[in-house]
């Protein structure tokens, strides 16, 4: 356990440094700098130099990185170049939406994906092939397009869900659920297909193991074999895949939040990217890295629970 | 080479397999000394973990030796330079246990068998083909087999091909690592007979590694018994089989049930053994 936490800590610090360092280096490589961007074409050379000094841009890169890092550790991630809002407040206002979206999608993926995979593994023949074909379609269609099709059909034509926008749970829980339903499904669609396939393979593999034969030979009921023994063993590889998928879901929020105009981090970063609002982009990148680090810890702990083989080396 | 110098002399060989940073290395062989004379078959017998395969690997240059020496015709080869090691492969060859893994599935039998000839520049394309055909016949296969892939053959047939590959360079020493363990009794007899007839024909020396006491007794002139990385006993095969001196060898021979029911009934230990914790 100690070893696991230590390893996680080392990996996390590495990841945070890599993401923030990479961001910083990339920004410094940009043609033109923030001072030029803020002043635009009008500023004089004196104004430009003064602003550079004021922003600390005349310092060498490592020094600037260190200053930024120190700020981050104090909770200060700088401010937006345009609205001048502190990045930390922009992030704090929006992180909830993104977390709900990702957690919702993950739950849907895990439940629906594993159920489909189980069905496909146990029902061979036509139903299994049908599920395989569906899963193939599921991974292939672009999820943002699928989201738009859902909006067209369910929101615009049938008016079952709001077209866009977000209702905070404090306002109305049912409204909140309705506003999240389509974004969650859109974000989850590819993942469901991937997990269904992985779960099918994992469950089929487990069903072919000798211990399943032995359990049957001992008279254990088929229900216990499938839902107790097989599922627990299949959970070992699935946990790893779900962990990696979670990182992909964070990426996915960028598109999904834009389609549904959700006030989350993904939407924030798209807007900031369009405006080249670099402090905001940097801040959001760091927060995404932090979320990844946290989920990695959860996944590691979960893996520890489902796989006794790593508990006792 | 002096008259008294054996073909292979292993002296005080110690092999450690690293097991990562957190565990101490695994000592697979601990100061093992054996000799193999030219033309004989030395049987190496032991259970899993005894180090018998590691000894074969060490002679082939595959094992991480930490101490000791291996002499081939008086020349120390454990620390031979890579170039010399490659030359030695003409003299020292190997046949493995698993006939399914030892042939590259992506290459035809002809390509696999010609590879050593081409590599050592012993034959051009045409001559190599001729030689491969000749060897396939020698091991009891039709020459047409060279156009086929390993997946088209049974375990016994693959083992014949593996034997042809090892012997096509006409080496002096062949390490036979559990070559019949994966085979059925009737096919095992075919392969053992093939090995014996090739030995008579070519005068090759075998290091015959197995866990099966009956097989090793039948095949070997001398036997070395390994247990937990050390040689517990070595000597004439018939003497060891009939009259083992070491308690472990005695236990090993007593443990293997014999096929004759009347004899086996005599050998059975009284039932109700005392509890064991670890095997």
């Amino acid at each position: 356990m100690i070893r696991l936490l230590a390893r996680w800590l080392v990996n996390s610090i590495m990841l945070l440094l890599v993401v923030s360092g990479l961001t910083f280096v990339l920004v410094s490589l940009a043609p033109g700098d923030a001072a030029r961007t803020i002043l635009g074409q009008r500023g004089t050379q004196e104004q430009y130099l003064a602003l550079r000094e004021q922003l600390g841009l005349d310092q060498p890169l490592p020094v600037r990185y260190w200053d930024w890092l120190r700020g981050v550790l104090r909770g200060d991630m700088g401010e937006s170049m345009f609205s001048h809002d502190p990045v930390s407040r922009l992030v704090a206002d929006r992180i909830g939406v993104t977390i709900w979206l990702v957690v919702g999608a993950l739950l849907v993926i895990a439940v629906v994906g594993v159920a489909l995979g189980m069905a496909s593994a146990r029902l061979k023949g036509a139903i299994g092939r049908c599920l395989d074909a569906l899963s193939m379609v599921g991974v292939s269609i672009p999820n943002f397009w699928f989201g738009l099709v859902l909006v067209t059909l369910l929101s615009v034509k049938l008016r079952l869900f709001p077209v866009t926008g977000y209702v905070y749970p404090a306002e109305s829980v049912s409204g909140w659920l309705r506003s999240l339903a389509l974004p969650v499904v859109t974000l989850a669609i590819g993942g469901i297909a991937v997990i269904a396939k992985q779960a099918r393979d994992a469950i089929s593999t487990q069903l072919d193991q000798e211990y399943v034969l032995a359990l049957r030979g001992q008279g254990i009921s088929e229900r216990s074999i499938v839902y107790r023994h097989v599922l627990k063993n299949a959970a070992v590889p699935l946990t790893t895949v779900l962990g990696l998928m979670l990182i992909g879901l964070f990426s996915g929020t960028v598109l999904v939040e834009s389609i549904f105009a959700l006030p989350g981090l993904g939407g924030l970063v798209v807007g900031a990217t369009t405006q080249h609002d670099i402090p905001v982009v940097e801040g959001v990148a760091l927060v995404f890295a932090l979320m990844v680090v946290t989920t990695n810890l959860v996944v590691d702990l979960l893996y520890h629970v489902v796989n006794p083989r790593i508990r006792t080396p | 080479m002096t008259v008294s110098e054996p073909l292979v002399r292993v002296e005080e060989l110690t092999v450690d397999y690293p097991r990562g940073r957190r565990l101490p290395p695994l000592r697979a062989l601990d100061r093992v000394s054996v000799t193999i004379s030219q033309g004989e078959t030395l049987g190496l017998v032991g259970e899993s973990g005894s180090g018998k395969s590691t000894l074969g690997d060490a002679i082939l240059g595959f094992a991480p030796a930490v101490a000791g020496a291996v002499y081939y015709r008086g020349e120390e080869i454990l620390h031979a330079r890579p170039k010399r090691r490659r030359e030695l492969t003409r003299q020292i060859q190997v046949i493995f246990q698993n006939p399914y893994g030892s042939l590259n599935p992506a290459k035809t039998i002809g390509e696999t068998l010609a590879e050593p000839l081409r590599f050592h520049r012993l034959a051009g394309a045409a001559a190599a083909r001729e030689k491969v055909a000749e060897w396939l016949e020698l091991v009891g296969m039709a020459p047409e087999a060279m156009k086929l892939y390993p997946s088209e053959f049974s375990g016994g047939q693959r083992q014949r091909i593996a034997i042809a590959r090892a012997l096509i360079l006409e080496p002096e020493l062949v390490v036979c690592d559990e070559v019949v363990s994966a085979l059925d009794l009737s096919v095992q007899a075919q392969i053992l007979n093939l090995l014996t007839s090739l030995k008579e024909r070519l005068g090759v020396t075998y290091l015959f590694i197995t866990h099966d006491m009956a097989v090793v007794e039948y095949m070997s002139d001398r036997i070395a018994v390994l247990h937990r990385g050390g040689v517990v006993e070595q000597g004439e095969a018939s003497r060891i089989a009939a009259n083992p001196a070491d308690p472990y060898t005695q236990a090993l021979i007593a443990a293997a049930p014999v096929p004759d029911p009347a004899v086996q009934r005599q050998r059975r230990r009284p039932t109700r053994p005392e509890p064991t914790t670890r095997n």
């Binding site: 990841l15 990479l22 961001t23 490589l29 379609v137 991974v139 292939s140 672009p142 397009w145 000798e210 211990y211 034969l213 032995a214 049957r216 030979g217 008279g219 063993n233 990182i247 598109l255 834009s258 995404f288 | 259970e47 595959f62 490659r86 492969t89 060859q93 893994g101 590259n104 599935p105 992506a106 590599f119 050592h120 009891g140 039709a142 892939y149 997946s151 088209e152 053959f153 049974s154 047939q157 059925d184 009737s186 096919v187 095992q188 007899a189 075919q190 866990h211 443990a255 096929p259 004759d260 029911p261 004899v263 086996q264 230990r269 039932t271 053994p273 005392e274 509890p275 064991t276 095997n279």
Partner: protein, 654 residues
């Protein structure tokens, strides 16, 4: 190349390849193929639906959607190509180096990749786009770099696995240099997985590029790309939903084609590379020419007749059950098997693997089934308790347990018998236990299944069972996981599990094959001891005549799906009547005279599909005559308690 042919022989994969190639070529030659200028506005046909003028309709500015898709493909596919090029250029060399050389480079590279996996790609792409606003190149380079970790892992893993292969070890012992080994033995085995990964990644790259273009981070309007066309269409979804369809479907189709190509390559490679066990199609067909010439005994029987299962399942199974006991179960037997015939495969193309097997096991008796691989002995053992697995079924014959016909029971009723009346000890002790549960939990579940009792009593019974099989310190053992046990301990736990329901018959399928000889001895002793104490019957399936001699009183010898001889083991060993039994005993090195060749059986066991209609052993038998192949040979009693399936058994006794 075999694999290339194997790929195009798959209709789905070949179609996917053709469709993807057509889309790519049409985009490359868009200037030739496209019916309209992609930028030409024609307000008269604004928002037109598909028709003769605009095959896929026109957008809000009246631009032809089909032409825009073709030109747009250039942007999207170029972007994907950039990402894929980086992906391969980084992943393959780094993976090869790390996998083959290992050492420091591997350590560092693997850690770097581990971190790369944790980076949310889209976010870094956002950073890149916000910094370098120009076009798709920078973002697709980033995607290629960040994605290459997955290819690195695959190549590294494959290289490491290939480097462990015996044929690579053999190549090293042939004296090949590292460079030649990489080129000749390792690379040919990794290109399949590399292509699979690359097609999957290119599908992902197309999706990502479209997503970025949808958000407006790609080409500037009015130039089209697939993603930006979806973006434009999304503004008019309530009025003109059609415009959403063509670009989305096109992306879906090409991505799906790439996925199917990847699957096709994987199947083609595994089909050509996987090891076919003896007795599969090609092996048995070519055996006649390539292998040692089989005895030329099989007369020209019509092909259909030589495949009893395929042509006429009944012909094979109609042979009367012929132990002399007739079709009725022996009254005092606990287990009676009568004329058991088992087939695998679909009903229209089934293969019979066990034919007309009959035997009895008395209460408390030990009976053996001995045979080589492919003889069907394990299938017999499993069909007794209805555990044949997928595709296997009893097509005729009966199994009686204690007078009850098991073969007539519904699966649920049979499941009740298993564990309680008949229990199974499978072959491989370490894989027989569920790795995810402790020993205690596994045994407790079986105990509870067979008699419901309070918790404390279940625990006491678990401890009792563990002590019964000679395991010391059962109290600590209950908390252990299977991977913490040695093979011998695991097999003892396996036996404890089998004993939990107090069965009257124990079926032991090669119970000691996976064990070292000294551990085997302990397990054999334990089984005999348990039988003395508990009085249950044992059916032992084995290839080892020593195990047979140690454990059993009577045994049947199986060859190619049939019992060829059955007798008390003393008779079987000392006075075998079947030429096969005789040859098999003679081939045993225990009986060999040093310096003399071992008597061996020429040829090999035929695959079930190739079994002759007559005596199955005839093609390899020294005594075979034309009558042997003329028709089915029956198992007949030769003397009391001793049956044989041979026309020449009289001349076999020497």
């Amino acid at each position: 190349m075999r694999s290339v042919r194997a790929f195009f022989r798959q209709p789905v994969a070949a179609t996917a390849f053709a469709v993807a190639a057509a889309i790519i070529l049409a985009s490359v030659f868009a200037n030739v193929v496209a019916p309209h200028d992609p930028l030409a506005q024609d307000l008269r046909s604004a928002n037109a639906l598909p028709g003769a003028e605009h095959w896929l309709g026109a957008d809000t500015l009246g631009r032809d959607i089909c032409s825009r898709l073709l030109y747009g493909g250039r942007i999207t596919l170029t972007g994907a190509l950039i990402a894929v090029a980086v992906f391969v250029a980084l992943g393959v060399p780094a993976g090869l180096l790390a996998g083959y050389r290992r050492g420091l480079f591997d350590l560092v590279a693997s850690r770097v990749v581990e971190v790369m996996f944790a980076i949310p790609v889209m976010i870094i792409v956002m950073v890149v786009v916000s910094v370098f606003s120009s076009g798709v190149t920078a973002s697709m380079l980033t995607i290629g770099i960040l994605g290459s970790g997955s290819l690195f892992r695959v190549v590294r893993g494959q290289t490491m696995a290939a480097a462990q292969e015996l044929y690579v070890k053999a190549a090293r012992s042939e004296g090949l240099r590292a460079r030649s080994i990489l080129r000749r033995h390792i690379l040919p085995n990794i290109w399949g997985p590399v292509i699979v990964q690359t097609t999957l990644f290119s599908a992902g790259a197309i999706l990502t590029e479209s997503g970025l273009a949808f958000l407006g981070f790609s080409v500037q309007p009015p130039a089209p790309s697939w993603g930006s066309m979806i973006g434009e269409a999304s503004r008019y979804i309530s009025a003109h939903p059609w415009q959403l369809i063509p670009p989305g479907v096109l992306i879906g189709v090409i991505v799906m084609c790439l996925g199917l190509i990847g699957d096709g390559v994987r199947d083609a490679v595994s089909r050509t590379d996987t090891v076919r066990r003896p007795g599969r199609r090609a092996g048995s067909r070519r055996r006649g020419q390539a292998g040692r010439p089989a005895a030329p005994a099989v007369p020209a029987a019509p092909a259909a007749l030589s495949r009893p299962g395929a042509a006429s399942p009944d012909a094979a199974s109609r042979t009367p059950a012929s132990t002399g006991a007739g079709a009725d179960p022996q009254p005092d037997a606990i287990l009676s098997v009568r004329g058991l015939t088992v087939a695998f495969g679909r009903a229209d193309s089934q293969t019979v693997v066990v034919q007309d097997v009959s035997f009895d096991v008395g209460p408390g008796e030990s009976v053996g089934v001995v045979g080589e691989s492919g003889s069907g002995k394990t299938v017999v053992a499993r069909s007794v308790i209805g555990l044949l697995g997928r595709g296997g079924r009893v097509i005729s014959g009966q199994v009686f347990f204690d007078g009850q016909e098991l073969t007539a029971l519904p699966p649920a009723a049979l499941a009740k018998i298993r564990g309680r009346d008949i229990a199974l000890i499978p072959q491989e002790p370490t894989t027989t236990l569920d790795p995810a549960f402790t020993i205690g939990k596994q045994i407790a579940e079986v105990v509870r299944r067979h008699d419901r009792r309070p918790r404390a009593e279940v625990r006491a019974r678990v401890i009792e069972l563990l002590s019964l099989v000679g395991l010391a310190e059962p109290e600590t053992l209950v908390g252990r996981y299977p991977h913490e046990l040695s093979g011998g301990m695991a097999q003892r736990v396996g036996i404890a599990l089998a004993l939990a329901g107090r069965p009257r018959l124990l079926i032991a399928d090669e119970p000691t094959t996976a064990l070292d000889v000294t551990v085997q001895q302990q397990i054999l002793d334990l089984l005999r001891d348990l039988q003395d104490r508990l009085g249950m019957a044992i059916l032992v399936v084995t290839h080892d005549w020593g195990v047979l001699a140690d454990l059993t009183e009577r045994a049947g010898v199986m060859y190619a799906g049939q019992v060829v001889e059955s007798a008390p083991i003393e008779d079987l060993y000392h006075r075998p009547l079947s030429p096969y039994t005789r040859a098999l005993i003679a081939a045993n090195p225990h009986n060999a005279t040093k310096g003399e060749p071992l008597p061996s059986i020429p040829g090999q066991v035929l695959a079930p599909a190739d079994w002759p209609i007559g005596c199955h052993f005839a093609p390899r038998c020294a005594l075979a005559t034309p009558e042997c192949s003329a028709g089915p040979v029956e198992l007949r009693p030769a003397e009391p308690g001793h049956s044989v399936r041979c026309l020449h058994s009289a001349s076999a006794v020497v």
